[in-house]
């Protein structure tokens, strides 16, 4: 006696969250059954293995049918075939597009191309995430990327509108798309200590301040319809950043800047002497020079990609090696950027603020162990 056909169809589609998770994690039916058995479900419910097998198959089939709709979440809302309460629909979407930290760190900033897709085997082996799940996550990134790529307006809003994500998830995807588009390097060894959250935080700041969509606008207001592209960095702005070089090139400006900062911070900073030392031109790890140079280099795509590497090398690592406490870093960065306003000879105040406000936020976030 073998079961040829075995189905269960409810007027309201039954969604078992546990099985959904197993399915999303890419387990085969038999693995999923084994995992459920291990979780003790048989004991809890008194069911038999055959019942569990049938139940799992059924859910898998349902998810498989739903998957097509999940690729375009608004379809899930409007379709008539599966009657699913809205809260469950939201759950289905949210979980389907959720991603693993380990996976996203591998892919973040890489081009979402076939080539990357081929590397998924390695990522799977490295992270312990099933290949199936890797593929789903990768395809999700790519799908969202494709849909919002050409769109105007706020990136996160576009994503939310087309994929019906929660706020949080939409912002995460905005970061992923933004990173993929700008190809920021995140895989270097010295960047390994950074979490996806760190990058997402930076991405959000950069989107708010450094992209075309941010020009002359209060950041991320959806009413900015004009040429509002959140995906690409504002090229003009990057060009202009060269002007900041004067801050380190002009000896007078540099000295003035340094003395203003030192005066303001004297006695307030535990690492005052290290800070002061770092302002000196010959110092190998001149913080100010580093920050300005990073800005000046952003005209080149290659250097844009290495932005995070540079920031870590030029700022985070020197501070860390001097054991700056986070509070001191904050004090320093605040003072460092504010005092520029007092440099009469410096004409690019607005440019400096646009650059430094974002950078300060990023650096503070990046500064940890």
């Amino acid at each position: 006696m073998t079961s040829e056909l075995d189905i269960f169809v409810g007027n309201t589609t039954l969604i078992d969250e546990e099985v959904y998770r197993l399915w999303l994690d890419g387990y085969s039916v038999s693995d999923a059954v084994a995992l459920r058995v291990r979780a003790g479900i048989l004991e809890q419910t008194g069911a038999t293995a055959a019942v569990l097998q049938s139940d799992t198959m059924d859910h898998y089939r349902t998810f498989h049918m739903l998957e097509r709709l999940l690729h375009a979440p608004p379809k899930l809302l409007h379709q008539l075939v599966f009657q699913i309460p809205p809260s469950r629909q939201a759950l289905l979407i949210e979980r389907y597009y959720a991603f693993d930290e380990a996976f996203v760190r591998e892919v973040l900033g890489k081009k979402l191309s076939k080539g990357t897709k081929k590397d998924l085997d390695d990522i799977s082996a490295k992270t312990g995430i099933t290949l199936k799940s890797c593929r789903r996550q990768f395809d999700n990134f790519k799908r969202v990327f494709k849909v919002v790529e050409e769109m105007r307006g706020s990136l996160a809003d576009n994503i939310q509108q087309h994929f019906l994500f929660s706020d949080r998830l939409a912002r995460d995807y905005a970061a992923i798309v933004f990173f993929a588009n700008n190809r920021f390097e995140t895989a270097k060894k010295k960047l390994q200590y950074l979490s996806f959250g760190d990058f997402a935080f930076c991405a959000e700041l950069m989107i708010q301040n450094w992209t075309l969509g941010a020009v002359g606008e209060a950041p991320s207001k959806p009413d900015s319809q004009v040429d509002d592209m959140d995906m690409d960095l504002d090229k003009e702005f990057l060009q202009d950043l060269k002007e900041l070089k004067v801050l380190v090139a002009d000896k007078d400006l540099l000295d003035l800047h340094k003395s203003l900062v030192c005066t303001a911070l004297r006695g307030k900073l535990g690492v005052f002497s290290e800070m002061e030392a770092n302002f000196k031109p010959p110092a190998p790890q001149n913080l100010s020079r580093g920050l300005v140079n990073v800005a000046a280099k952003l005209t080149h795509n290659k250097d844009v990609r290495d932005l995070f590497v540079d920031l870590v090398e030029k700022f985070v690592e020197p501070c860390r090696s001097d054991h700056w406490p986070l509070g001191d870093v904050r004090l320093f960065l605040n003072q460092y950027s504010v005092t520029v306003h007092s440099l009469d000879g410096f004409r690019h105040q607005a440019l400096w603020d646009r650059y430094m406000d974002t950078l300060r936020g990023c650096l503070l976030r990046l500064y940890h162990d």
Binding site: M1, T2, E4, D6, N11, L80, S87
Partner: protein, 1032 residues
């Protein structure tokens, strides 16, 4: 020109990509009604076209309005080649034809293609302007309302219940026409869908005409079915109960508990206003009897009843006069009817006076080509015969009517088993005529009978019982006699006094049969039927005893015929009726008492059985108060008396005659274990596992002993097909496989629905079919309803008395079938027996000769007006299949149903006639849909499971869309009447046909209603039940 149909095509969405090059579609729409077709403009390059068409107007006869479906076809325009069809929508406009239902159909309909399934949606608006038609000879019956619900619909009051209506139409099946060889599967499927839709419309119109003739205005318990007879054609049958219904002006005032059995069950889920206490009366408990012979056929199923009229004069065929005035009145009211049948399973209070027992009849026929579709006389004659037989069985039980009546067929190749069954009953004439008797009745009511037991009292005569039965005085009122066991096909009357909870009981049985052709095959089947009936009955009886209960409701016995086997599946809801005596236990007797170890084994088994009974009693809370024995005059059963229940494995009828089947006479059942077969039976008795705690199940509408339903419901359909290993199939192995199949299916359901605990599976409806040699298909539809555990326990008052056992008559029947040849089944064929070729084997007559040549000449011979009927309402009685008491620990939080509005409105579906925690405010019309789905890429669609899963989900979607377009938010009395699945994995093909129906309604949550109705003093509807409900 009595009607103008107006259609507007608004827009489409989610269309499939038809042009690979552009990834877009150039869609337009054809709107067809009858022979007229309109087209919209082509909307270029869009998957979401906005046609916003003008109003297309069709001027048509109302006859056509009833028959024809509106056919909407969405196509992709192609300049260079033929336009490609995207899919179709058929809209039944019937709901627009009566004033109280929907006024407009407007909404998104799934665009359906028989090969690809749903392909996007289309927004359509449909209206009808009807002109008054004064033509007396009209052929249409617009205005007659149809309900699938097998009780009086909630917002109506029954003024008169006229009775049985039936009709049948036949046609050639397009699938078997010559043209089918040259047309595409799609064209063939569409031809079939359209034809069936047309035939359903015609059928409904014809039934409507009959109703108008009877001066009724509605059909309740309407069930339409189709028989795919293959080569010989396509039959669409329908049966129903004609009524005159009055709309209740203020439902809130009138329907106390009606929509929600949430409160006490007793408060009746029936919406019946004015009447109270029911019970008619006859004061004389003295029945005089005239003897009469049992008539039987094979076909009679179970506890049936045979027997004879009571009362004085005997009067042959018409049965004796009944005891009292009431009966005479009723009788006269019913006598006028050819068939005093009612498809209802629940009744207005007072309607049902006595219940006799289940009557059923089966007959085996050989199918022959239907020569003239306009004169479907053969099929009519077949059914007429069966009904006649049912009628005579009812008479034999001293009953003048049959309620809970239904008909069904099982077809395999050219053999067809026709089955009909119902419950013999005595009815109160008040509803049958224009209230003339009402006055006198009202007085007598109440005095005599305490509510809750009247229907159990025997309608037949004690001294002249149709079968050896064991009678006692009613444990409730002590005035009338009651049988020891009662089987019925109806729902548990709302006023019945029940002890504890009920449970679902199933008897399952397979019998191998040799493959054979035509007559030989029919004979073999007829010969097997009585044994199957007998065994099914025995199983039911044993299981009933094992549960410690004494009555079955909602009994439905399905016999399915396949190439090489017959399957029997009986489902019913067992309960303990307080009016009936406490059932005795089951005793096991070994054949060879000498052997010590054997003895030991027996006593071990005995202990297990006794333990099980005790456990079940606890589980279902069956603890009737002991009642002092003061039973007068009737045989008081000795507690330990036994009867022998012999098994029927004997194959010859001779042996059968010797069986003493009157287990009814004694208090305890004896199971004699004389061979391994019997041993297995006993084992199988014990292997039925009760459902996990927190679960109950029943096949009736609601579960006795549970109230306080919450509003969380989940209707589902589950289908399983197993392939038997063809090696050495034996009856035992087959039985085991079948048993496992059903048990596993139930287990899976319990598991899947575990998040709803505490919950009850209601209206569990099993259907078995044998699509191929080694395949068994079981389809289950049911609804799971959660209830509030804290209030679930109902204190049932228990009036208990001792009673007698009523013998199961079916055994008797077996004995006698030979006699029956000359009994009343014959009058129905006016032709000489020699020519009885017509039907191959009449199982009921059991004459092998009867299936001799089936030449066409017989048509002329049949004088009988054929009536076809199929009674459709499937009410399965709900029983808890295996219920278990829920410990406190099981109570989990039910997740409140999040029925908040999404973009797509939620449409509930339920096989029940009500929605828990809600009030039905309007019936929008009947939903009756037929779909075919076919695939030639089975593997790609996920195999058979993937294919059928998707199809059923699509069917649900289409039903919901139609309901939503009518303005409704639920389908009640939903049933899947047919699910025919065929596969050919080698060719990577599969096909499935599904037929569903139900009533589209608008319901309002009681919690919302509360706001409205607080001002009304009469609002005694309980909102209490609305327990965990979400106000959208």
């Amino acid at each position: 020109m009595p009607g103008k149909l107006k259609v507007k095509i608004v827009a489409g969405r989610h269309l499939p990509v038809m042009d690979r090059a552009s990834d877009l579609t150039d869609a337009f729409v054809e709107v067809k009604f009858g022979n007229t077709t309109f087209k919209t403009d082509v909307y270029l390059k869009s998957l979401n076209p906005q046609w916003n068409s003008e109003w297309f107007k069709f001027e048509v006869d109302d006859e056509d309005l009833q028959d024809e479906p509106l056919q909407i076809t969405v196509l992709d325009h192609d300049t260079y080649s033929a336009n490609d069809a995207i899919g179709k929508v058929y809209i039944d406009i019937d709901p627009l034809l009566y004033s109280e239902a929907a006024t407009v159909i407007s909404g998104w309909f799934p665009i359906y293609d028989t090969i690809h399934g749903i392909r996007g949606e289309i927004n359509v608006v449909v209206k009808v302007d009807l002109f008054n038609d004064l033509n007396r000879f009209r052929q249409s019956s617009c205005g007659v309302k149809f309900f699938c619900t097998t009780s009086i619909p909630k917002c109506y009051r029954a003024v008169i219940i006229h009775g049985f209506v039936e009709e049948l139409v036949v046609n050639e099946d397009p699938e078997y026409q010559w043209i089918d060889r040259i047309r595409t599967p799609r064209a063939s499927n569409e031809a079939r869908q359209r034809l069936i839709s047309l035939m359903s419309g015609e059928l409904q119109r014809k039934i409507g005409l009959k109703v108008l003739e009877m001066r009724g205005n509605a059909v309740v318990g309407y069930l339409q079915c189709f028989d795919l007879e293959g080569e010989s054609g396509l039959v669409v049958r329908a049966i129903g109960t004609a009524c005159t219904l009055d709309k209740l002006s203020s439902p809130a005032a009138f329907l106390p508990a009606c929509n929600s059995p949430s409160k006490e069950m007793k408060e009746s889920p029936l919406a019946h206003p004015p009447s109270h206490g029911c019970r008619s009366t006859h004061n004389s408990p003295i029945h005089t009897a005239t003897g009469s012979r049992l008539t039987q056929n094979f076909s009679v199923s179970v506890p049936t009843l045979i027997y004879t009229g009571m009362g004085s004069g005997s009067a042959g065929k018409e049965g004796g006069p009944f005891k009292a005035l009431l009966r005479q009145q009723t009788q006269s009211a019913l006598e006028q009817r050819e068939f005093p049948f009612f498809t209802l399973t629940a009744f207005p209070p007072g309607f049902l006076v006595h219940v006799g027992g289940v009557v059923s009849a089966r007959s085996v026929k050989l199918l022959d080509r239907i020569h003239n579709p306009d004169e479907p006389e053969t099929r009519d004659a077949w059914w007429a015969e069966i009904r006649q037989e049912i009628k005579s069985h009812a008479k034999a039980l001293g009953c003048h009517a049959v309620v809970g009546y239904s008909e069904s067929t099982s077809i395999c190749e050219e053999v067809c088993i026709l089955s009909a069954s119902g419950t013999a009953a005595v009815l109160n004439p008040r509803f049958l005529q224009d209230g003339t008797v009402e006055g006198c009745l009202e007085q007598r009511i109440e005095e005599n009978l305490p509510a809750g037991c009247g229907f159990c009292h025997i309608p037949y005569d004690e001294l002249n019982m149709p079968f050896p039965a064991h009678l006692t005085y009613c444990y409730n009122c002590r005035k009338q006699k009651v049988p020891d066991v009662l089987f019925t096909t109806i729902d548990l009357p709302t006023d019945a006094t029940v002890v504890g909870k009920g449970c679902l009981i199933q008897a399952r049985l397979c019998r191998l049969k040799k493959k054979a052709q035509a007559e030989a095959n029919a004979t073999a089947i007829s010969n097997l039927l009585p044994f199957m009936e007998y065994e099914v009955h025995t199983q039911l009886m044993n299981k009933l005893k094992l549960k410690g209960m004494n009555a079955l409701f909602g009994l439905r016995i399905q016999i399915t015929v396949g190439e090489n086997m017959l399957m029997g599946l009986a489902s019913a809801t067992a309960v303990y009726l307080a009016a009936l005596p406490m059932p005795g236990g089951i005793q096991i007797a070994g054949k060879t008492p000498s052997d010590g170890s054997y003895e030991q084994h027996i006593s071990h088994m005995q202990k297990k059985i006794s333990d099980t009974i005790a456990k079940n009693k606890e589980l279902y809370e069956i603890n009737p108060p002991e009642i002092s024995e003061e039973i007068i005059g009737s045989p008081i059963p000795e507690p330990k008396q036994r009867s022998r229940l012999l098994r029927s494995q004997s194959e010859s009828s001779d042996e059968v005659t010797e069986l003493d089947l009157s287990h009814g006479k004694k208090d305890a059942f004896v199971l004699e274990i004389d061979d391994t077969d019997a041993m297995e039976d006993v084992h199988s008795l014990l292997t039925d596992v009760p459902p996990p705690s927190g679960f109950y199940s029943c096949n009736t509408e609601i579960m006795p002993g549970i109230n306080n339903w919450t509003s969380e419901i989940q209707m589902f359909t589950s289908v399983r097909v197993i392939r038997l290993s063809s090696l050495n199939l034996t009856n035992q192995a087959l039985n085991k496989n079948f048993n496992d199949l059903c048990e596993n299916l139930l287990k899976s359901l319990y598991f899947k629905l575990r998040s709803m605990i505490p919950c009850c599976l209601c209206h569990v409806n099993f259907t078995v079919s044998l699509p191929e040699d080694e395949l068994i298909q079981v389809t289950v539809t049911a609804v799971a309803i959660t209830f509030d555990k804290n209030q679930a326990l109902q204190t049932t008052k228990t009036h208990i008395e001792k009673s007698l056992q009523r013998a199961s008559t079916d055994n008797e029947e077996l004995l006698q079938f030979p006699l029956e040849l000359c009994s009343d089944s014959l009058p129905s064929h006016p032709f000489p027996p020699a020519k009885e070729h017509l039907e191959s084997a009449r199982s009921n007559s059991g004459i092998p000769a009867a299936q001799r040549d089936r030449c066409s000449s017989w048509i002329e011979l049949i004088k009988l007006k054929a009536q076809t009927i199929r009674r459709g309402s499937i009410k399965t009685t709900v029983t808890v299949e295996k219920a278990s008491p829920m410990g406190e620990g099981n109570f989990r939080n039910r997740s409140a149903p999040p029925c908040a509005n999404s973009t797509v409105g939620v449409v509930k579906m339920t096989p029940l006639s009500f929605i828990p925690g809600a009030k039905i405010t309007k019936y929008l019309g009947i939903i009756n849909m037929f779909f075919i789905r076919e695939t030639t890429s089975l593997r790609e669609e996920g195999g058979v499971s993937g294919f059928l899963h998707a199809f059923i989900a699509e069917v649900f979607a289409m039903v919901r869309a139609h309901v939503a377009a009518l303005g409704g938010n639920a389908v009640v009395s939903y049933i899947m009447k047919q699910c025919v699945f065929m596969e050919n994995p080698n060719k990577n093909q599969a096909q499935c046909l599904i037929n569903v129906s139900g009533d589209a309604v608008i319901f309002v949550r009681e919690s919302e209603l509360e706001v409205i109705s607080t001002q009304q003093p009469t609002a005694n509807c309980q909102q209490s039940c609305a327990g965990g409900e979400v106000t959208t």
